[in-house]
């Protein structure tokens, strides 16, 4: 089977569109890392769990399916807060390992809850605009992926506005840059961090819903791969870099789909990891990350 240019370009287009969900997940990791200099390993699990809650809510109440995209993120925000309180708030600040291990525990805890609640089988997730298909010359654009892209871009713009245009964003940036000075300015760092977890939780929930919508099903098997993809995006973008996470999210989505086309689904992730290793060796600070520095 020959692979021609149009197949490659089409694979990259689809990958870039889907990559916007990776960008959202990467943003969540990078924002929490920026705020607390700690990784929240339970982040993608909260995102998927939120999508499940959204799905359950519309299934049980008979609300229109599109509301899952609203209820899911809200649920993820609440789960994010719970993860903050249980895994970060009361852990000693000097111990980097304790919250890391606690959040890995939360990852598998959430995963297990989902498996028990659904008997481990995948559920159909409502797609939006999946009957729409645009054609531009020889290339096609799937309507559901365009929905994913547009929603992600709107979410990113809202996030950037919150971070750089509001009092809450000022507090978040202050705590991430200099926590002692932030406290001296009257900014309660614990409350600000809790808000960051809620905010990133909402972002993750949106990504979780859209990843599920794009694939058409939601399954507990998604949590670990999305965690890993999110971390890869964060590392490639540069830990703590917001534009880095966005660019890397799209890039990983594009490359992933290209690898899928060239090497097949069984080998796809091997090459995604190779990409990660290439970055770790040749550009360990990522695309836009600064050298690790803290004053």
């Amino acid at each position: 089977m020959g692979i021609d240019f149009i197949d490659v370009a089409q694979a990259i287009i689809d990958g870039l569109l889907f990559g916007s969900t990776y960008a959202l997940i990467g943003l969540g990791f990078t924002l929490i890392f920026g705020a607390m200099h700690k990784l929240n390993m339970a982040y993608a699990a909260s995102a998927i769990a939120g999508a499940y809650v959204g799905l359950a809510a519309i299934a049980l109440s008979g609300l229109p399916p599109v509301l899952a995209f609203f209820l899911g993120p809200v649920a993820s925000g609440v789960i994010g807060l719970a993860v903050y309180i249980t895994c970060f708030r009361y852990m000693p600040a000097s111990n980097m390992l304790a919250p890391l291990m606690a959040s890995i525990g939360a990852l598998f805890f959430i995963d297990e809850i989902i498996i028990h609640a659904t008997a481990g089988s995948p559920l159909a997730f409502p797609a939006v605009m999946d009957d729409v298909y645009f054609e531009l010359g020889e290339y096609g654009f799937r309507g559901d992926l365009i929905f994913v892209l547009v929603t992600s871009l709107v979410a990113m713009l809202v996030l950037l506005y919150v971070l750089f245009g509001t009092r809450l964003g000022l507090a978040t940036r202050a705590v991430s840059q200099q926590v002692v000075a932030a406290e001296l300015c009257g900014i309660a760092s614990h409350r600000t961090n809790a808000t960051t977890f809620v905010l990133t939780g909402v972002l993750g929930g949106l990504a979780g819903c859209m990843a599920a919508a794009a694939v058409g099903v939601i399954s507990p098997l998604l949590t670990v791969p999305i965690t890993v993809k999110g971390l890869i995006v964060t590392v490639i973008g540069g830990l703590g870099s917001i534009p880095g996470a966005i660019i890397a999210g799209f890039a990983v989505g594009g490359f992933e789909n290209l690898f899928l086309l060239v090497f097949g689904v069984n080998q796809r992730d091997i090459y995604v990891f190779l990409l990660l290793f290439v970055f770790l060796v040749f550009r360990p600070n990522g695309l836009l990350g600064k050298a690790i520095k803290r004053d």
Binding site: R167, A174, A181, L184, C185, G186
Partner: protein
């Protein structure tokens, strides 16, 4: 105004403050001097409620603030210009000032803007660099920014931890003239300094801190400067 009594603060089992008692009076400049490792910064952080003391009390205008939070201490009228300035390095100068007024940022927009204008009037070099990222300022400008940021909370007591550290003599003179100016405007000052010569010129009252204890206190006129420096840096027994 500020009353500190028997304050003990420890890092793990090591006591950095071993029962410090001092007071700062309204409208005065109170200096805390002492060698490296005396506990001066620990004392500042304990008063500002960044660190939680093991025992003892800190009162501002008879209100107990010990063991509360730094935002609470700020609301009680204490602001600290921390050691090493600690500006928000990736924010602009103006955002740093806005962060300083965080507690009334949404409720008092006009007041915050007026205070920012006041800060620019006091520190013209900051006005020229209002959109510049704070991490790219010189050390002296960062110190000015840290002072201006602390003043944005309209404190009754301004504490400053080694504001002259690592700065050129000309800048140090400027900082001290600003301290005096702020004091003339009615702000009580608590100043931690290594530069005893400069500090004694403006202080109304001083405390000498050594190994977590107040070893000497008084007014600058009481002893000669040479004698003072002897006590402060070479140990009181030698004198």
């Amino acid at each position: 105004m500020l009353e500190v009594r028997d304050l003990v603060t420890a890092y793990g089992t090591i006591e950095a403050l071993k029962g410090v008692t001092l007071s700062a009076k309204q409208g005065e400049i109170t200096c805390i001097l002492g060698p490296n490792g005396a506990g001066k910064t620990t004392l500042m952080y304990s008063i500002a409620c960044i660190l939680k003391p093991v025992s003892g009390s800190v009162k501002v205008n008879d209100t107990e603030i010990t063991g509360t939070s730094a935002p609470h201490a700020l609301r009680c009228g204490i602001a600290l210009v921390p050691e090493n300035r600690l500006v928000f390095h990736s924010m602009s100068v103006e955002e740093n000032l806005m962060a300083g007024a965080y507690t009334r940022l949404s409720s008092d927009r006009a007041g915050v803007q007026a205070d920012i204008d006041n800060a620019y009037a006091r520190f013209p070099s900051l006005k020229d660099r209002r959109a510049q990222i704070a991490g790219t300022l010189s050390g002296g400008e960062q110190q000015m920014l840290a002072v201006a940021r602390a003043m944005m909370s309209r404190p009754k007591i301004l504490m400053m931890d080694e504001p002259s550290l690592g700065l050129a003599p000309l800048i140090v003179a400027e900082i001290f003239s600003i301290i005096r100016q702020l004091n003339d405007e009615g702000v009580s000052i608590v100043l931690v300094e290594q530069n005893a010569h400069k500090a004694l010129q403006i202080a109304n009252r001083f405390y000498l801190l050594d190994q977590g204890r107040v070893t000497f206190s008084g007014t600058p006129g009481e002893i000669g400067e040479d004698d003072f420096i002897q006590r402060a840096y070479l140990g009181s027994k030698v004198a």
